[in-house]
C-alpha cells in the first residue's frame, strides 16, 4: 500500500503540487490524469524521490520513503518514462539487466531473469537480447523499457506517460499487455497520463489533478456518476460519459436469456464494443459466448443502453 500524505512541492513562489493525499492499494493500478502543468509528473517523481517533497511524506507498506537513501529506494521501484529512456550504448539485455546488476545479483540469475522478461514481452531473447536500442521499433523499445523497470521484481511500478510516443494501434496493444503483466506479477502501478481514455482504460482508481491540486480520486464509475468539479466533468467529456461507462464493463455482465441470430461475440469484450457491433451490423441482438466457446445468452441494444447510464 502506498500512502501519500499531505505532499507539496514548492519551487520559489510557485506551488507545483499542493497538499496532495491519496492511498493506492497493493496490486491495483492508479492513473493520474491532468493537463500539462497540472503537477502530475512532479507528484509521481516525488514517490521515488527524483524530486524531493517540500512538505508531507510518502509511505510504502508503512515505511517512510524519506528514511531510505534515494538510490536504494529507486532500485526497489520500477520507473518507466515516455520515449523509454533506454541507454543507447547498451544492448537490450544489458539495459534490462541494469537494476539487478546494481543490486549485485549473480550472473546466472540475471541471465535467467532477462530471458524470462524478454519472452514475457514477446521478444525472442536470442534475437533481441544482443540488439541495440536504435535497432528497435517504437513499440519494441517501449516493451524493453517496461521490462527493464520490472527486472528486479519491484512491487511498485511508476510510469510517466509510458505510451505517449506510440501510434494508436501499438498503444492499444501495449495497454492490453500491461494489464496482463500486472495481473501476472501483481505489481502496484501508478501511471501518469494526459489521455482520459487511457486513464479510464487502465485505472482501478483515477486521480484528476489541476494546478497542483488533487481534484478527485475515485473509481472510474464513481467519477462518471459524480464528478467532483466542473473541470473533472469537462475532462471526462459530457458526450463521452455513456461510452466510457460501457467500456468499463464486460459484455458478459449484460447478458440476457434468449436466442439471437448471427455469429456469436466473445463475452470478454467490453459492452462498448458489443454495442458498436450491434449498431454497425444493424441487428437488435447478438449471441454471446462464454470462455469455453458455448453460447451463454444474448445482448440487445435496449439491454446495453440501460448500462450506459449510472445506476
Amino acid at each position: 500500500m502506498i500512502e501519500i500524505d499531505g505532499i507539496s512541492k514548492v519551487y520559489g513562489q510557485v506551488t507545483v503540487v499542493d497538499n496532495v493525499s491519496m492511498t493506492i492499494e497493493t496490486g491495483s493500478i492508479a492513473t493520474i490524469v491532468g493537463t500539462s502543468g497540472s503537477g502530475k509528473t512532479t507528484l509521481l517523481r516525488m514517490i521515488n524521490r527524483l524530486v524531493e517533497p517540500s512538505q508531507g511524506n510518502i509511505r510504502i507498506d508503512g515505511e517512510d520513503t524519506a528514511a531510505i537513501p534515494p538510490h536504494e529506494l529507486r532500485r526497489r521501484i520500477g520507473y518507466v518514462i515516455q520515449g523509454h529512456g533506454l541507454f543507447p550504448h547498451r544492448t537490450v539485455a544489458e539495459n534490462i539487466a541494469t537494476v539487478p546488476k546494481l543490486l549485485g545479483w549473480p550472473q546466472d540469475r540475471i541471465k535467467t531473469r532477462v530471458e524470462e522478461l524478454l519472452a514475457l514481452f514477446q521478444l525472442d531473447p536470442a534475437e533481441f537480447g544482443p540488439r541495440f536500442p536504435h535497432e528497435l521499433s517504437g513499440g519494441q523499445s517501449q516493451r524493453v523499457g517496461v521490462a527493464r523497470a520490472l527486472a528486479a521484481e519491484p512491487n511498485l511500478l511508476l510510469m510517466d506517460e509510458p505510451f505517449g510516443a506510440l501510434d494508436p494501434i501499438i498503444r492499444a496493444k501495449a495497454q492490453t499487455d500491461l494489464l496482463a503483466i500486472q495481473k501476472h506479477f501483481g505489481t502496484t502501478i501508478i501511471l501518469v497520463t494526459h489521455d482520459m481514455e487511457e486513464a479510464f482504460g487502465l485505472g482501478d482508481k483515477i486521480a484528476v489533478m489541476d494546478g497542483g491540486r488533487l481534484l478527485q480520486y475515485a473509481r472510474p464509475e464513481d467519477m462518471l456518476a459524480n464528478p467532483a468539479t466542473d473541470f473533472v466533468a469537462s475532462l471526462i467529456g459530457t458526450a463521452e460519459r455513456p461510452f466510457r461507462l460501457l467500456s468499463l464493463n464486460r459484455v458478459e455482465t449484460a447478458v440476457e436469456t434468449g436466442a439471437a441470430e448471427g455469429s456469436p461475440i466473445s463475452g470478454s469484450i467490453s459492452q462498448r464494443e458489443a454495442l458498436a457491433e450491434l449498431l454497425w451490423s444493424g441487428r437488435p441482438s447478438l449471441p454471446v459466448m462464454g470462455g469455453d466457446g458455448s453460447v451463454i445468452g444474448r445482448v440487445t441494444v435496449d439491454g446495453l443502453l440501460k448500462h450506459a447510464r449510472p445506476a
Binding site: 538510490h71 536504494e72 529507486r74
Partner: protein, 396 residues
C-alpha cells in the same frame, strides 16, 4: 557539342588544371651545392628521354581520367598509380641529373613535382572520401600507404634526393628529435587528458566553474605560441632554482619543460570543451532513466555519461593531437627539440632541404594522426550517436 560540360567532374577539373600547370613547371631542381638557388629542369630534361616520355604519357592519361566522370574506384587507383609513378620518376631524376662523383651537387623535387603530387593526392583523397570506406578499411589504407613509403625509403630509390642526403648526414639526431617530437606531442596530450577530462566533468556539473575555466582557457588559446613559450621561461627558471628536486626532473627555463607546459596549456581547451560538450549532449532521457533506476551520481557518470560522451571527447583528443604535432615544431626555438630543430637550422642556413627534413615528417605524422583518430571516433560511436557526435565537434 555532344561532349557537354556534364561529362566533366568538378573536382577533377581543379585537379586537371593544377596537374596541367605542374607538367609545364620544373619537375626537379639542380643545384651546384646545398645553399645556392636551384635551376629548374622540366620533366623531359630531368629524366632519361624514354622514361620522360613514358611519364609524360601516363600523366596525360591520368589527367584525362581525373577530368571525366568515371567510376570513383577507377579514379582512386589511377591517382594512386600516378603517385607511385611520380615517386619513381623523382628518384630516377635524382640519379640522372647528378654528375658522376660530385658530392656537393643537390637534386631536389621542383614545383612541378609538388604540384603534380598535390593534384593527385587531392584526387585520391576526394575519391576515398566519396567512396566512404569503413573506419577499419581507412586504417588499413593508412597502414598500406605508410608501408609503401617506408619501402621506398628503404629501397634507396630516393637516395640521390637532397632531402635524403640531409637525412643521411643527420641520421642519429633525426631519430632523437623524432622521439622528442613525439614525447612533446603525446606526453602533453596525455597530461592534458588527465587534467582536462576531470575539469570538464566538474565544469559540466557546476555552471560557474564551467564559465570560468572555459573563459580562462579561451584567453590562453589566443596567446601566440612563440609568446607563450617565451612567457613560460621566467616562471620555470624560478621553479628550477627555488623548488628542490625540480631541476633534477629536467625543469628549466628553456628546453623541453616550457615547451611541454605550453603544449599542455593549448591542449586543455579542446579537452575541457569537448568533455563539457560531450556530457551536455548525453540524452536527457538516458540521464533521467539512470537516476530513475537507482544509479548513484558516480555510477551514472561512469556507466552512462562518460560512455555516451566518449566519441565527442575522443574528437577533442584528435584536435589536440593534430594541433600538438604541428605546434611542437616551435619548441625548437626555446631548445625543446623536435623536428623544429631541422626547420629552424635550415631557415638559418637557407638550406630548404633541411627545412623539408623537419617539415615533411611533421606533416606526415599530423595527417596519419588525423586519419587514425577520425576512424577511432567513428568506431567508438554507436550508429545512432555517430551523427550527433560529428555535428557536435566543439571548436575553440
Amino acid at each position: 557539342m555532344r561532349l557537354g560540360l556534364n561529362r566533366i567532374d568538378r573536382v577533377g577539373l581543379v585537379v586537371a588544371l593544377i596537374a596541367a600547370y605542374g607538367l609545364t613547371a620544373p619537375f626537379a631542381l639542380f643545384r651546384a651545392n646545398r645553399i645556392v638557388p636551384g635551376e629548374g629542369r622540366a620533366l623531359l630534361s630531368a629524366l632519361p628521354s624514354s622514361l620522360g616520355t613514358i611519364v609524360l604519357a601516363i600523366s596525360v592519361v591520368a589527367v584525362v581520367v581525373a577530368l571525366l566522370r568515371l567510376p570513383l574506384i577507377l579514379k582512386f587507383f589511377t591517382s594512386l598509380a600516378m603517385l607511385v609513378v611520380l615517386a619513381v620518376a623523382i628518384g630516377s631524376a635524382s640519379s640522372f641529373l647528378m654528375p658522376e662523383g660530385n658530392t656537393y651537387a643537390r637534386v631536389s623535387p621542383g614545383s612541378g613535382f609538388w604540384l603534380l603530387g598535390a593534384a593527385f593526392a587531392l584526387l585520391a583523397t576526394d575519391g576515398l572520401a566519396r567512396l566512404k570506406p569503413s573506419p577499419l578499411l581507412r586504417i588499413a589504407i593508412l597502414a598500406a600507404v605508410a608501408l609503401a613509403i617506408a619501402s621506398v625509403l628503404f629501397s634507396g630509390l630516393w637516395g640521390g634526393l637532397s632531402i635524403m642526403k640531409e637525412y643521411s648526414s643527420r641520421a642519429d639526431t633525426f631519430w632523437t628529435e623524432a622521439g622528442r617530437h613525439l614525447t612533446l606531442a603525446l606526453g602533453s596530450l596525455a597530461v592534458a587528458a588527465l587534467v582536462g577530462i576531470p575539469l570538464g566533468i566538474i565544469g559540466h556539473r557546476i555552471e560557474r566553474v564551467r564559465s570560468v575555466i572555459l573563459n580562462l582557457l579561451n584567453i590562453v588559446q589566443t596567446i601566440p605560441s612563440i609568446s607563450l613559450f617565451g612567457i613560460l621561461i621566467g616562471p620555470l627558471s624560478w621553479v628550477a632554482v627555488n623548488v628542490p628536486g625540480a631541476a633534477d626532473l629536467g625543469i628549466r627555463g628553456i628546453g623541453m619543460a616550457p615547451a611541454f607546459v605550453a603544449l599542455f596549456l593549448y591542449s586543455l581547451l579542446p579537452m575541457v570543451a569537448n568533455t563539457v560538450g560531450g556530457l551536455a549532449g548525453v540524452p536527457g532521457d538516458a540521464n533521467d532513466a539512470a537516476r530513475g533506476v537507482g544509479m548513484t551520481d558516480r555510477q551514472r557518470l561512469v556507466q552512462v555519461e562518460l560512455p555516451l560522451a566518449f566519441p565527442v571527447i575522443l574528437t577533442g583528443v584528435r584536435i589536440v593531437l593534430v594541433q600538438n604535432i604541428g605546434l611542437a615544431t616551435i619548441a625548437a626555438l626555446i631548445g625543446g627539440g623536435g623536428f623544429g630543430v631541422f626547420v629552424f637550422q635550415g631557415l638559418g642556413q637557407t638550406a630548404m632541404d633541411l627545412v623539408l627534413l623537419g617539415a615533411v615528417p611533421t606533416v606526415a605524422m599530423a595527417v596519419a594522426a588525423a586519419v587514425l583518430l577520425d576512424a577511432l571516433v567513428e568506431l567508438a560511436a554507436p550508429a545512432n550517436v555517430a551523427d550527433n557526435a560529428n555535428n557536435r565537434e566543439v571548436t575553440a
